[in-house]
Amino acid sequence: MSPDTAPEPFEPLAVTDARNHRLAVRAGLAVGLATATYGVSFGALSVAAGLTIWQTSFISLVMFSGGSQFALIGVLAAGGLASGPAAIASATLLGVRNSLYGMRTAPVVAGGRWNDTWYKKLAAGWLTIDESTAVALAQPTATSRRTGFWVTGLAVFIGWNLTTLAGALIGDALGDTRAYGLDAAAAAAFVGLLWPRLKRLQAVAVAVAAAVVAALLTPVLMPGVPVLVAALVAVVVGFFNWFGPRQAGTGPISGERMPS
């Protein structure tokens, strides 16, 4: 997390282990608390998009991935039931990055062993999101990485689901959501998810091009479909590595949210 997590040279090993453990727990809880605040906006926006409180809570429990969840309700809000396939596709494509996170966190969770029980893999997979991956990979030792993963994943899961329910109840009580500017709040939520990922020229170029493509195609295609076509920008730019750094490597995960 911070530069001072490196062990002091004269400390006994057990003391540094305990300290690393404490820092990993603290980072996980801080991230869990910060993430829980956007659960409120998801809950309220989901109800505004026409979903019931039950449906809203189901998404946070099972899907449990912020970007995909906002995408699903965003497309449904614009296009209704007819845009269902496009909504599913948008949410799914936004979830592709979780597969890559899982490949990185699998050895962390297993603690070096590959043959974990299926229910441990299921639990770990379920909790694999931007936040748990970022906190886990930022820890200095194998044990603290494992602690960071589980604490962050569980803290975010509990916080996110509780605040989703709270947000859904608030949204349900509000009624006319446009008068409260909730449609603009949905756009602002996407800006917040995108912002930490715009650190490189390549990402900025893709973002601008994808936004232009989506806006230009909106009048001619069914709601939801322009977003999917805009995703092709990423495939093309990523394939040829346009605007990319000379040596593309396996650097740190871009867009990870660090607790501040």
């Binding site: 039931l81 936004l94 490949m103 990185r104 699998a106 973002a207 493509v213």
Partner: protein, 101 residues
């Protein structure tokens, strides 16, 4: 498709993708191209969703109170304001413009 079917299908698809990461050999990660495309895919989808959510109204493109609200939101994120504060501020800007126009 009913709303429930859409929700269940999307939820299972996203969960399945997470589990996939625990089942495939990690060798794929060392290939930079798939990792890069997956990273940029997230960026492109979020940017496209911002455009549609800010400008779209069904199949029409309209400039309304959402545009200044999103500009304010971007400015606040640049100033490192917390997520919930920015989302509420954006809603407030749009609501105020609609109330006074």
């Amino acid at each position: 498709m009913t709303l429930w079917q859409i929700i269940i299908a999307a939820s299972i698809a996203v969960l399945a993708l997470k589990l996939l990461g625990y089942l495939v050999p990690p060798a794929l990660l060392h290939k930079p191209r798939p990792a890069r495309i997956a990273d940029l895919l997230t960026v492109a989808l979020l940017a496209a969703l911002i455009a549609v959510q800010t400008l779209g109204s069904g199949q029409a493109i309209v400039l309304d109170a959402r545009v200044p609200a999103v500009i304010v939101a971007a400015g606040l994120f640049a100033l490192k304001a917390p997520f919930i504060v920015v989302v509420i501020a954006a809603a407030g800007v749009a609501a105020a413009i609609r109330a006074f126009s």
